[in-house]
Each structure stands twice: as C-alpha cells, then as structure tokens.
C-alpha cells in the first residue's frame, strides 16, 4: 500500500506536466474545432458553429488534396525507411572496415533539427545551382527542378525524410536483432531452411513488436511533417508537397483560421490513431490470438 502511494508521488510531477502540456491543449483544440474564430476578422469573437468546420472539411478540395499527398508521402517514406533501415541494421551486425565511422556518420542526421535538414536540402536542390541538380545534369543530363516538377518535389521530400529518419529505424532494429536468441536460427539451419524462409518465419515475427513500435513512431512523425518541407518547398510547387502539417500550419498561422485549423488537427489525430490501430490489428492481434 505504502509503495503504491510512493509510486503515485513519484509519478505526480510527470502527470501534472502531462496534464498541462498534453491534456489541456488537446481539449482546447477540440473545443476550438467546434467554433469559428479568426482574430483578424471584423468581429474577432469566438463563435460556436457546431460541426460546420468538420462538414466544410469534406468539401474542401485543398484539404482532400493535402490528405492524398500526405498518405502517399507516409507510405513511400515509412516503407523505404523500414527496408533501408533493416538492411543497414543487418549490415552493421557484421564487421567491415570503417564500420564505426560509417555508423557514426549514418546517425548524424538524427541529431539535426528538421529546419536545418530543410535548409541543407534546399541548398542542395535549388534548381541549377544546388549540387544535386548540378550533378544530375552533368552525369545524366537530367533536369531536376523542385520548383516546377510536382514529382521531383515530392520525391525529394521523401528522400529527405528517408535520409533524416532511417538512422532511427536502423538503431531500433539493431537493438531488436542483437537481442534475438540464437537457438531458433540454428535449429532452422539444421532443418535446412534457406535465408528467405528464416527471414519470413523466424526473424520477422520475432522482431515484429520492435518493428511495429518503429512504424508507429515514424507514422506519427510523417503524418505531422512540417518544418523540413516548409523550408524546402513551402508546400509547392502548387500544392504538390502541401502535406497535412503544412496545410494546418498555413491555415492556423498565416491565415489565422483557428477554428478550422483545429478541426483539421483533430482529424489528423484521428487518422493517426486509426492507422496505428489498423496496423496493430493486422500485424500483432492475429499472433496474440494464435498464442
């Protein structure tokens, strides 16, 4: 009983902080999403408008376009990060010359602020003077212009995200892979299983919890990407990279459309929860059922 009370006392500071910086802002945003409020309107009052903001979302072509490109971005970025991260994790489990240096360099992007990442990529991809378009032009005669080509801009934002966040996936998967017991692998080899069978039937199921946790983290991050993209493309060309985070930023800050922006935020939160739940149901729940 006493240790239970001590536990709550020790937890109290964290719970208080979480309440003020997590719970209160969430309910404030939720409350705002049912109101119309633009402080730069002729009448800057906060007016209750029921579900009008959510109803407007359904017919807002800007929001729907933003949702579409965001889902595509999340799919390509997170899937690529998982594949590349897994391959790098496997590589780092083996010894090769310069491994320590390569691992350090590979981890560096993780410690960079997103705005810095956006700036670096902007300098590298500015049409005609950035190093990447310059090299692509010299080597392949390819004209990379993220200011005019929607495909180029989208691809560069995906590559930038992969560059920035793959190290997180790699580190997580290294931790998961080194903690696996050797017995099942030895047994499988004795039974004549090939590498692909070992991967699908032993490695993958055993690292699934770590993999899923990584996917959850990356999914949540990718769905709310703002800084890097805002710095790199500003959401352009046109609305090619106006991902939901950028869309919300532009609605809430420059346009000061607080009520509508809050409604979009709530929908994004809902989407994130649903996506994570679907992944959980698809990957983990069947295994638990079998067990």
């Amino acid at each position: 009983m006493q240790s239970n009370r001590l536990g709550w006392i020790l937890l109290a500071p964290t719970l208080v902080i979480l309440f003020f910086f997590g719970v209160v802002p969430f309910f404030y945003v939720l409350w705002l999403s049912f109101h119309q409020w633009n402080p730069f309107a002729l009448d800057p009052a906060v007016v209750y408008n029921g579900a009008d903001n959510f109803r407007a979302l359904v017919f807002d072509s800007g929001f729907l376009a933003s949702l579409g490109v965001t889902l595509a971005f999340v799919f390509f970025a997170v899937l690529s990060e998982l594949i590349v991260g897994y391959l790098l994790a496997q590589a780092f489990l083996k010894d090769f010359p310069g491994k320590a240096i390569f691992r350090t360099i590979h981890t560096l992007p993780l410690i960079m602020a997103p705005i810095i990442v956006g700036s670096i990529w902007k300098l590298m991809t500015t049409p005609s003077i950035g190093i990447i378009p310059s090299l692509l032009d010299s080597w392949f005669g390819f004209d990379l212009n993220i200011g005019t080509s929607a495909v180029a801009a989208f691809t560069v934002t995906v590559v930038m995200d992969i560059w920035h966040w793959t190290p997180l996936v790699t580190l997580t998967l290294i931790a998961a892979l080194v903690s696996l017991p050797a017995d099942p692998f030895e047994q499988a080899q004795i039974d004549g299983a090939n590498k692909r069978q070992i991967f699908w039937h032993i490695t993958l199921p055993m690292i699934a919890p770590a993999l899923l946790a990584t996917v959850f983290i990356r999914l949540m991050d990718a769905l709310r990407t703002v800084d890097e993209v805002l710095m790199l493309t500003g959401g352009g060309p046109g609305s090619a990279t106006r991902y939901l985070g950028v869309h919300i930023f532009k609605e809430v800050f420059p346009r000061t459309n607080y009520g509508y922006g809050s409604a979009v935020s709530i929908i994004v939160l809902y989407l994130t929860i649903v996506s994570c739940w679907l992944l959980y149901v698809a990957l983990i729940a069947p295994r638990n059922k079998k067990a």
Partner: protein, 483 residues
C-alpha cells in the same frame, strides 16, 4: 570551373542566410542623458523579434550593443525568417505572454495590428513620460514614410527602422559594354538602355538570356521572384508588377464593398491584371532556373551572383549588392531605374491616382503586453537618433530620417548605387506601400494556392485570376469585411 562557380553562388546564398556583421563605431551626441536615463533600468533585458534583413541585422549587431554600453540595458534582438517573425510576434501579442518588448511591424501588417490594439501609442507614451523623452528625438525628423505607422488618433505606433523601394536594377557593365551595345542594336535596331516600357524590358531580357546561352555564360535577362510555394511570388505580382499595368491595391476596391471580381467592380481579374500576369510569367520563363524557388532574398542573391542582367530587386539589398565585395560579384556595376510601365501609369502615379511600384519598409512597435515598456521606449528613440543613421543607411540601404540623405557616406554610396538614394528621395512618392487592409495574410493565404497552381501551369492565368478574385471575395465575406 562551372561547378566551382556554382559552389561560390551557393556560398553567397549561405552568407546571406547567416546574416551580416558590422563593426562601425558610433558617436552619440548626448551620452550623459542616455546614461542617466538608463540608470533606473540597469540590468534590465529587452527582447525584440524581427526579420533577418541587412537593416535588422545592423540593429542586432551594432545598435543593441551600443545601447547597452550607454545605458546598461541589455537588448536581445532575435532575427529570424519573415514567416517565423510574424508567427512569434502575433502569438506573443495574441496570447498576451509579454515575451517581446519590441516587434518588427512591416508596413503591410500595421493595419491589422492597429485593428487588434496590439501596439502602444508612442507619441502619447512619450508625452506622458517626459523624463523618458530623449532631447534629440523628434517625430519631425522622420520621412513621410512614418505616416504609414500612425493610427486614426494621429499617434505614432512604430518607429520606422527601414524604408526602401523595389527598384529596377541593371548591370551597368553589360549595358555599357560597346560590343554588347552593338550586338543589341544589330538585333533590335535600338540602343541598349534601361527599359521604360514592358515591351522594351522584354526585348532586353530576351536578348541577354540568348546572349548568355550563346556565350556559355550563366547569365539570364531578368530576375523573377517566382517561388511556387511561398507568398513572395504573390507579392511580386500584386505589389510590383500589377501596378505597372494600372492594377492597384491588389485589385480589391475597398470603397466598393471590397470587390475583387470585375463583375462586382474590382480589378483582380481585369484584362490589365491578366495581361500583367502573362507578361510576368513570360519573364519568369527566361529568368535563371532558381527563380521558381526564389523569394526576395534569393532574387537579391541571384543578382549579386551576376546571373541576371536586370530585375526588380528590393532596395534593402541594393547597397550590399553594389558595394560588398564579400557577398557580391557585381560591385560597382549596378544601376537603378524606375520600373517599366504601361502608358498612362506614370501620369496616374504623379497625379496620386496610382503608383508605379512597391514602397516597403517597417518599424519597431511596442506591444501593449510588454513588461518593460519604459526601457523599450528608450531603445526605440535611440534607433531614431540622427547620428546613428549614416552607417545604418550605408549598411542596410534604408533611410527613415530626412537628414540622412545629406550625410557624406550616404552621398558616397548613392554614387556607387547609381543614384538609388536620390531616387528614393525624389521619386519615392511614385511608389506605395501595401494597401491599408487589416486582412493581408488572410487574403493572401486564401488565394495563393490558386496562384501557385498558375505558376506551375496547372491552371491558366486567365482562369486562375478569375478563381482568385472569387476566392478573395469569399474570404472577405467570411472575415466580415464584404457584406
């Protein structure tokens, strides 16, 4: 060689992003008064937020340390991007957190801030606190640009700290080169000189883009502030290009129920507006490739890197482009002229009915939420002292006091700049700041997605402007301005 050149261009861009540093030694006329006035605030810290521009960097790097040396009041100036500056300032004033004691107010946002009662009436505050009024400070010293920062009560709500016009810059080394002049004459039958009309400008731009290509040079005929995801492109079109075709105040008629569409009496989608947009897009197509990612900063960098023969460039950058050898490849080779115009526009500007380009600038305002208003009042007056203006003008191409025009350094730089300051003084009246609307960012954000689609070619200019005018009216209706 080409690669090294590109690297150096990137280095110029990087230098621009990191800001400038200045090391002038300023002599204050009446230091005793400042020391005495600062005594009761000794140890206080003032915080300001502003856009990272040459003029603002001078405040952070030179004026703030000098003020602290005099008064003992520490001044921390945060110089950040334009978007972040607004984001931080508005959030602070809206939430009444009182983090900032000074905020940069660009001329186009002051009407919104006044409508929201964000700012302190400086005239009144100094009248009520006579002991804080510096002997050398006077509102009469300001140029007429200060009038932009007066409220309906006549009080001043911001101390002007930068003011400049968006001018037509051209490369004198290219325009005065006899070989190029002869080639231009041969091709066009005309003398090569700064354009007065859009047709002349187009001819020169096309000539230099072809000339650059034919001679293997990284040279194009014009700049274009045509970012496909940043409002800088929106601004260039509506504030610098459309007025030269006679489309004023973004095509919105405030006296006619804020109409934007031609159908309702606005001009945002008028034939003149459409012609202006098509002309600007045609210029964008022969500008350096980076133009589609360029805001005002990158346009200046492009010009400084010697990649454009002519272009519309914000005057705040004119001085460093023309004089700073560390950042610019075209030092001493810059001329200025009035923007190219359609027939009749100059006459309309002279008669006060219209204007020929953008007169931009900003002031430092004192938020009502500041917790150190008295100390901030001191710093604001310090920024308006005549004796600190000369070096500041030379470093940041900005003039806010009438006396600054006659200082030796400004006269000297004026020569190097091909008469930019003289133009600011003599022809400044032909330019105009942004329209007096309290809904700038709202209308821009409502219409800019369509504008960016026009830039990418997904929507045609005619159809796009029709959609934008419609969107603008919808937004103004939502905001309650349009009935």
């Amino acid at each position: 060689m080409k690669f090294a050149y590109k690297l150096s261009v990137s280095a110029i861009a990087l230098a621009m992003m990191t800001g400038a540093s200045f090391a002038q030694d300023i002599q204050i006329k009446n230091p005793e008064w400042w020391q005495e006035a600062g005594k009761k605030f000794d140890g206080a810290t003032l915080r300001g937020v502003t856009e990272s521009t040459p003029a603002s960097n001078y405040v952070a790097d030179v004026l703030a340390p000098k003020f602290e040396e005099l008064t003992g009041i520490d001044v921390q100036i945060e110089t950040t991007s334009w978007d972040q500056m607004y984001d931080k300032a508005i959030k602070d004033m809206e939430a009444k957190t009182g983090i900032y004691d000074m905020v940069y107010i660009e001329q186009d946002i002051v009407y919104a801030y006044l409508a929201r009662n964000f700012l302190v009436n400086l005239t009144k505050a100094l009248d009520e606190n006579a002991e804080l009024k510096a002997p050398e400070y006077s509102e009469d010293n300001f140029t007429t640009f200060a009038e932009n920062f007066r409220g309906s009560d006549g009080g001043l709500y911001g101390v002007p700290m930068e003011a400049f016009i968006k001018v037509y810059l051209y490369r004198t080394d290219l325009f005065n080169d006899p070989k190029i002049q002869a080639e231009f004459k041969e091709k066009t039958g005309k003398d090569l000189k700064p354009a007065k009309t859009h047709a002349e400008y187009t001819e020169i731009a096309k000539f230099f883009t072809e000339y650059g290509k034919a001679n293997g040079m990284d040279l194009w005929g014009t700049t274009a502030q045509a970012h496909t995801g940043h409002p800088a492109s929106w601004y260039e079109y509506f504030e610098s290009v459309a007025p030269t075709y006679g489309v004023y105040n973004w095509g919105i008629d405030a006296n006619n129920n804020y109409a934007a569409t031609v159908e309702n009496g606005g001009t945002m989608n008028s034939p003149e507006a459409k012609e202006a947009l098509k002309w600007w897009l045609s210029m964008r197509d022969i500008a350096p490739p980076e133009s589609v990612q360029s805001t005002w900063t990158e346009v200046a960098t492009t010009f400084a890197a010697g990649r454009a023969a002519q272009g519309l460039v914000y005057g705040e950058n004119a001085a460093w482009i023309a004089t700073d050898e560390e950042k610019s490849r075209v030092v001493g080779e810059v001329g200025v002229a009035l923007p190219p115009l359609e027939p009749g526009v100059l006459e309309e500007a002279e008669s006060g009915k219209g204007y020929i380009g953008y007169y931009d600038g900003g002031a430092f305002g004192l938020p009502v939420t500041s917790k150190s208003q008295d100390a901030a009042l001191l710093f604001m007056q310090f920024m308006a002292l005549p004796e600190i203006q000369e070096d500041w003008a030379a470093a940041g191409s900005r003039i806010t006091l009438t006396s600054t025009y006659d200082t030796p350094k400004v006269k000297e730089v004026d020569k190097e700049l091909g008469g930019y300051y003289s133009m600011l003084r003599d022809d400044g009246k032909l330019f105009k700041g942004a329209p007096e609307y309290p809904f700038h960012r709202q209308v821009i954000e409502a219409t800019s997605p369509t504008f960016y689609e026009i830039l990418t070619g997904s929507i045609g200019p005619d159809e796009g402007l029709d959609m934008m005018a419609q969107k603008a009216e919808e937004e103004l209706k939502n905001l309650g301005y349009r009935k």
